[in-house]
Amino acid sequence: MNLFFVVLIPFLGAGLAAWVSRFGRLQSAWMAGGVTLVALIALTPSLPAPFLGETLVQRIPWIPALGLDLVLRLDGLGLLFALMVLGMGLLVILYARYYLAERDCMGRFYGYLLLFMGSMLGIVLSENLILLLMFWELTSLSSFLLISYWQHREDARTGARMALAVTGLGGLAMLGGFVLLGEMVGSYDLSVVLANGELIRSDPLYTPMLVLILLGAFTKSAQFPFHFWLPHAMAAPTPVSAYLHSATLVKAGVFLLARLFPVLSGTSQWSILVIGAGLATLLIGAYFALFKHDIKGLLAYSTISHLGLITLLFGIGTPLAAVAGVFHIINHATFKASLFMAAGIIDHECGTRDMRRINGLWRYMPYTGTLAMVAAAAMAGVPLFNGFLSKEMFFGETVTFSANHTWDWLLPAAVVVAGIFAVAYSLRFIHDVFFNGDPIDLPKTPHEPPRWMKVPVEILVAICLLVGILPAFTVAPLLYVAATGVLQTAPPDYDLAIWHGVNAALIMSVIALIGGILIYAGRRPLFNLATKLEGLLDARAVFDGLLKGLLALAGAVTRILDTGSLQRMLLVFILSALTLGTVGFLGGGAPLTGDRDLLPADAVSLLVTIALIIVALWTVVLHRRRLTALIVMGALGLLVSLIFVKFSAPDLALTQLSVEVVTIVLLLLALYFLPQYSPAESSWPRRVRDIGVACLAGGGAAALTWSVLTRPYESIADYFLENSVPGGGGANVVNVILVDFRGFDTLGEISVLALAGLGIYAMLKDLRLPGPTCDARGRPWNWDMHPVIMAALTRLLLPLALLVSAFIFLRGHNLPGGGFIAGLITAIALIMQYLANGVEWTHVRMTSNLHPVIGAGLLIGLLTGLASLVFGYPFLTSAFTHVHWPVIGDFELASAIAFDLGVYLVVVGATLLILVHLGLMHHASHPGEQEPNHA
């Protein structure tokens, strides 16, 4: 399980490193270094395994059903990268301790760095592809944090976001690619994937899968055309650049190419895509590197170029080329990290990175100069330095590869051109900075950096030299196991010697060296040309343009759709319903009219129907005169209740009638505060459109009703009729349905009523609206608020109305009536008192605190239901019995009546709450009267 510790320790250490910074800024550096060492120690027990030809796999089950376990793997390739990540990490931690300024927060820096290190270790040690992808995205996120470390700087913020966007794009594409790949072989485990190369390459989805995975690799490794984020990531502190752009982040892409090399390579798609991207990147990077005046900019483009080189090697696809690719990964990591560190020292000491101003530093820092020269020589591919070895292998491989192709000179020629530029920019780095006259206007006077800041550079430069001179005694075993890890079999024979005799590769190296020197010597006209060509091939501008276009598109689309218009939303909803309903109906292929025999149309029905139609139309015509329209709508409700009577539904008729009254009173009270006339707000075309939509919707509803009514009706209703008396103890089936069969619905509906009451109360409570003093025609409102006759009459009526309501309530279970209707009647009777006598008069005599009434109603309903639980029956099971009362006679007592009492109380409470508070607002708005002191 030690591999898990290797990955986990940096993540845990990240928090620790951030935490210890409160005990002194250097503590973080010590902690980070310690954590890295511990991780390295955790890795040591596994070190021998790859050298013995074993692949370690360690597994902790996570989501086995989805093929996603926490499973790590150590083979040669993983080992090489893990060592690079940890080793380079240690050097960078040491270097950064001297690099960061006093005001930079050390804890945050080392925390982020360790997060990144852990993610990177996760990538290189993952056995499961999805797990690999998770760590992959974590490197994107943690590098976002690292690049934007100096968050006050604009370039750091945009650089970080650009890196995140581009690598994020790649990561998501890769996720798609991995899922496809996993589907092909039936597992995400690398052991399975790597053993199924044939299967994968012959899959019909091979090409899309390849493209998606390559998108991931290319964006991460800054391959053309995604290379532009890398130079902008240079806004990060230099230790970050030294770490991310030498051994880690950008190497993740080529690591992936290496990791999947055995299964993905060997097809023409692979060759075209990978060689194409690699070659373009190699050339473009080398070209731009030469013309950058910023030291880090030069190194950034040279990094891009070298990544192109490695990609190209993997693209070539032969085992030997892969070996060369791995070798160059090692070499590039060492010389590029040391060069970044040297650049950081120069920046640190000079206060600028502009090579037009930094000249002649040899006098001030000869030691650093020597180190930089060694590293630059390795980068240029000068013999006796490590870069030379891998570059020669590279040249040799391009020649071998091209031998069988037409245009066989093209690829070698192109890479020689890239080699020439590499020599030229390396030369420029050394010559411009350390020689070339005197420094121009530097902010600081440079001198050698602190002793320990140079140590990491010294170590790396020593590796460059040792590998360059004695490859067989230094890098050979590691390269061998790493290459084995890539190829998954023993690599072919290769010779790491410096001298192979005069062959094509050597000639190409010599041409590159001489050509590079010549180009640098004649650089003036080239620089002029480059200045003119600047702006061409600016991928960043394309990226910015795309992003801007995307934002503009998003803004435009959202503005068009999301206008916040209720009319629009309703229109869309109605049209959607119409479409769905029509399509649904037509899709059934059934006739609109069913086969039920139609009832004959009698005169009463016809009359009421015609009246209904006329009144409905009238409401539409009058809708601007709100009060009139409301009265007409009231008539509509009354007509509907007449229809209920006609079809023998007295309960419905009663309910409709009382609801209608309450609603009209309510609306009248509300309309008082609104203008009496609606202004004409819609244009004519819009009105025509709305009329059309309304007709369609109405027609749709009519058609639906027609199709339903013309079909035979068979339902569970018969059961209700049969069981109402024996099971529910009531002859009024409607009421038994309400309080028993579907009592739970009623419980819900009284909650709705209670909610409506509470909601309206809460809304009105703090609302103060100015009421009009006269009506729309300018007539003043009648100031005689409480006419004597009405007051006297309503007071008389109250006990009568309450009696009626009690009667209706009690008989409800067997005859038309019930709690709902009774509640409405009570509410109307009480409201009349308010209307006739005024709020204050009424409040003296009756509580205005109606919440307890509503609460009690709900509670009674609930407790009645719960009572049946005591007897072991489900919620709301009813019970009834008949008792014989003297005088009154036989009387039925049903538990449902208690439930109905709850309904009654909620109806009274909620209705009164709404009406009273609307009325109170009315009261308060009236000039000349005191606002009642209402709690």
């Binding site: 976001r161 966007a165 996720l175 319903a577 639906l704 009514l709 919620f875």
Partner: protein, 510 residues
């Protein structure tokens, strides 16, 4: 018949009634504790229920002891309980945030909150289509009250739009239920499934029309394109804990779609099988696309989060639309994730807005907010969550859906939209985070002369956010068993015969 089935429905109603009656009797402090205790009890009740149904048993509770299909039944299966679990956990943390001051200044916040929970629980448990309508009404009224909580012009406007549109939706719901009842003669969902499968050809058109009208209602609730327009305004203008609680509201629509179109109009429904098949996937993908554009275009953080909710609806319904056991299971896992993540984001947006004074949540560079590193870290984590980046639950949900879609014919579309939406989400959130935290300069004026002054975050407000994020972490750590549970849930849904037999008892032909 276990009363445990009805307990998660009745208990919030009881708590709401109690809180209503105690309003004048007890100080706010006590009512707050009462409500929190009630929510903890609710979580316990649901957990007990979860233990009962996790094994695959379907518990049926006949209200009033009337047998199905005549009376109303509550049905607890894996899906219902999963929804209840998500809801009750969410409600607890939303309330934990609300008691830090948001609940003051309103008379009925606490009872309304419990009634909302009553509506949610009822909607998830009921096995009766008309009863579902009733619970939709409760939800509508309760959420209207909560939406308007503490007023303000924007809230009132958005609330009015919300309620007007939803009333239209309710009307259509009645049309559809009425039609189904008239033709099929029943309201019990299991019975509807039996009757619909055996429908004679002359009635096919009407039933299909009713089924699709129902879809329009549920799509409105779920905020599916083109019926999503109410959501951004409503969610971004209301108070933070309400917006957090509303993270589950769109899922009620998604739940109803899943329930009704696997049970009544599912694959085994004969002539009305797979009724919304041709509609759902394209609409869901379009919702994700349009929602993503809204995320990119938003100028305020809360609106951005609201649009992220729209995107998540699209994602969720894409998973459901694919219709396989794996995809529905993945969608249900994602559902829990997105609910918690969106809620955390709404709360966090509120904390950020309060810390920026008059600038509120506008995405303009402003002053450094108090405790920026902690709030920034929470923002970073939440952004990772909602944009579906590893290693958190958003990524796992995305991976599961992609994994489920890979061998389906619609794979290129699903992959294309999901991956692109993910990328644009990352870009948009990176921009927002950079604007809010990185471009901040200068210190906030504690006493804003004009308008609102800035309030720094306190642990009381941060705790619910952290709690919700930890729930997402839980989803990651126990992803194995949880995804197995959601997958088993999907399996149960795709075999409606089991549900039907559990409700109707006798083994009828399915």
């Amino acid at each position: 018949m276990s009363h445990l089935v009805i307990a998660p429905v009745l208990f919030p109603l009881f708590a709401a009634t109690l809180l209503l009656l105690l309003r004048r009797v007890m100080p706010l402090r006590v009512r707050r504790s009462l409500n929190l205790v009630a929510l903890v009890i609710q979580i316990l009740l649901v957990s007990l229920l979860a233990q009962r149904v996790a094994g695959g048993e379907i518990l049926v509770y006949a209200l009033g002891n009337w047998p199905a299909p005549y009376g109303i039944v509550m049905v607890a299966d894996r899906l219902s309980v999963w929804m209840l679990l998500v809801t009750s956990l969410l409600a607890f943390f939303a309330m934990l945030y609300a008691v830090r001051g948001t609940d003051a200044g309103s008379r009925h916040f606490h009872p309304l909150f419990q009634l909302q929970l009553f509506g949610l629980s009822g909607a998830f448990l009921t096995g009766d289509l008309f009863n579902l309508f009733v619970f939709f009404e409760i939800l509508l009224l309760a959420s209207y009250g909560l939406l308007l909580h503490r007023g303000g012009a924007n809230r009132v406007r958005a609330g009015l739009h919300f309620v007007a549109l939803n009333l239209a939706g309710s009307t259509l719901f009645l049309f559809a239920v009425g039609t189904l009842y008239a033709i099929l003669g029943t309201l019990n969902m299991a019975d509807l499934a039996v009757k619909a499968a055996a429908i004679p050809p002359e009635n096919l058109g009407v039933v299909r029309a009713a089924g699709l009208l129902l879809f329009a209602v549920f799509a409105l609730k779920a905020a599916l394109i083109p019926l999503y327009l109410w959501l951004p305004a409503a969610y971004s203008s209301t108070s933070a804990p309400v917006a957090a609680l509303f993270a589950i509201m769109t899922k009620v629509g998604a739940y109803s779609i899943l329930r009704v179109y696997t049970l009544i109009f599912g694959a085994e429904a004969g002539p009305v099988a797979d009724l919304i098949g041709p509609w759902l996937l394209p609409l869901a993908l379009a919702t994700m696309a349009i929602g993503t554009l809204g995320v990119l275009a938003a100028h305020e953080l809360r609106r951005q989060v609201a649009y992220l909710v729209v995107v998540s609806v699209g994602f969720l319904l894409t998973a459901f639309a694919l219709g396989t056991e794996a995809s529905i299971g993945a969608g249900l896992y994602y559902l829990a994730h997105t609910t918690f993540a969106a809620a955390a984001f709404f709360l966090l947006a509120d904390i950020i807005a309060m810390g920026r004074g008059t600038l509120a949540d506008r995405l303009d560079p402003g002053p450094i907010i108090a405790n920026a590193s902690l709030v920034g870290a929470l923002f970073f984590i939440t952004a990772i969550l909602v944009s579906g980046l590893p290693p958190l639950s958003g990524f796992l949900g995305k991976y599961m859906v992609l994994n489920a879609a890979v061998d389906l014919p619609s794979m290129p579309w699903v992959f294309g939209v999901i991956l692109t939406a993910g990328l644009f989400g990352v870009i948009a959130l990176a921009r927002s985070g950079s604007l809010l935290f990185y471009r901040a300069e200068g210190l906030i004026e504690r006493t804003g002369a004009a308008g609102r002054s800035a309030v720094g975050p306190n642990w009381g407000r941060l705790l619910p956010v952290i709690g919700l994020l930890l729930l997402c972490v839980t989803l990651v750590i126990w992803a194995g068993p949880l995804s197995e549970y959601t997958r088993a849930t999907a399996e149960q849904l795709l075999e409606p015969g089991v549900y039907i037999r559990a409700v109707l008892g006798d083994p009828r032909p399915v």
